[in-house]
Symmetry: C2
Subunit: 256 residues, 2 copies
């Protein structure tokens, strides 16, 4: 965007762009670019081409260029992107210039692991509180933090100005915890419990379900197996139904 009005930042000095309205798909990839850029910086690169960066991030180079153009970042034609500058810009856009405080609720198996995961600390977050509803877990110390009772959430929230809540409880407890988080003003939640959370408008929930990931893989595994079993006759997969005997079967198996 050279002379277009879109980003239209009159008098922008050039170091840091404003906060544009990014496509979700782009937002989801920015962290990946950021990680790749940090690797490149550590390896001593000062500039990187879209081709190189896209390879490091595992995406298509045109997609990468479009993503970066959305955030108004400038590379230099014929040269590439300045690694340090790009890191700065992406971190700014992602809001990582401040170290956000995270409250982790549920210190079971998974919660323990998350509490000890240093990937959070190294990528812009600070686990500010550990909470659990189980009284027998309260008081335990993990990684220098003492587990407090979840009912202390209001106090914790004001002490630490929690920006993000992470739910690592069993599914049965998750909605209740979500409600409590929302009640103390948390508007971003990362949910590891296998259940759907309902939250008011304006609260963002992202869900990570480990079993679902495996099930998706299982589908593809199943699919690959069924394909190699049948010497693909060029037809649609549907024709490969257990056609022979399935007399009572679907009316649609032989569709089209």
């Amino acid at each position: 965007m050279s002379q277009h009005r879109q980003p239209g930042a009159p008098g922008r000095a050039g170091a840091v762009p404003a906060l544009p309205d990014l496509p979700e798909a782009t937002v989801a990839r920015l962290p990946e670019y950021l990680r790749a850029l940090h690797n490149l910086a550590d390896a001593g690169h000062e500039t990187i081409s879209s081709e190189g960066l896209s390879a490091a991030a595992g995406v298509n180079s045109a997609k990468l260029r479009k993503d970066l153009s959305h955030l108004g970042s400038y590379g230099t034609r014929g040269v590439g992107y300045d690694v340090a500058l790009l890191i700065e810009q992406i971190e700014y856009v992602l809001g990582l210039t401040q170290r956000r405080a995270v409250a982790l609720v549920g210190v079971g198996n998974l919660g323990h692991a998350l509490a000890g995961y240093d990937g959070f600390a190294s990528r812009g977050f600070r686990i500010a509180a550990l909470l659990d509803a189980d009284a027998s877990r309260v008081g335990e110390e993990i990684n220098g933090l003492v587990v407090r009772h979840v009912d202390e959430l209001p106090a914790v929230a004001t002490e630490e100005s929690i920006a993000i809540g992470v739910i690592a409880t069993p599914a049965a407890a998750a909605q209740r915890v979500a409600d409590q988080l929302v009640a103390v003003g948390v508007t971003s939640i990362l949910n590891f419990a296998p259940c759907v959370l309902s939250v008011p408008e304006g609260v963002d929930v992202r869900k990570v379900d480990l079993a679902i990931e495996l099930q998706i893989l299982s589908f593809h595994e199943h699919r690959k197996a069924s394909l190699t079993a049948l010497p693909a006759t060029g037809g649609s997969a549907l024709t490969a139904l257990p056609g022979g005997l399935s007399a009572t079967d679907t009316q649609e198996a032989i569709g089209t």
Copy 2:
């Protein structure tokens, strides 16, 4: 709920599976539907409308119907879907009728948690082996499984016929482990390490990066803050950011 007949279901007694060619987006939602269906079954429902199921799964009802229609499943107009039958069909499509063996590599913080996560066992998977490259961890027993050295992978693979590999190592070790997994014939990998894996054609990799999820939330948090700070200015809200050093932008308008 095990002894349901299979009305209309393809006679799938060990016969060659017939997998329609589902859109990825649909595949990604099927596990969610499945979970919701199990809940409904436990609650005693025998049938469920697309409206009810979609609410339980947190999606739009038209989308749900289209998804189910893709896998050729039948509901009954005027009535809804037979819960037990639908469970059976989705489990079949996802390849969950067999309990797939999972090898978990990397028994650190996260690996421990995954090894103890019962959501895997309860949703169609069996953790068949724990592996680590660190000799000091080999021999440790977790949840009834003994940690073996990652170099034993070939032996393990034949013993257990591993279908899926889970990588929970540090990023630096992940590519090597992936290569080892591929070498023993694993074609589905779930990667928790924050790095891009390169694998041969035909191998599926899914990635879960906990920090990325937080960073995406951080973006939206940042965005919400910048919007509430500048009420209703339309496009020019974007221009309100400091051009040079962003040292002064860190205060959020939202307190409490």
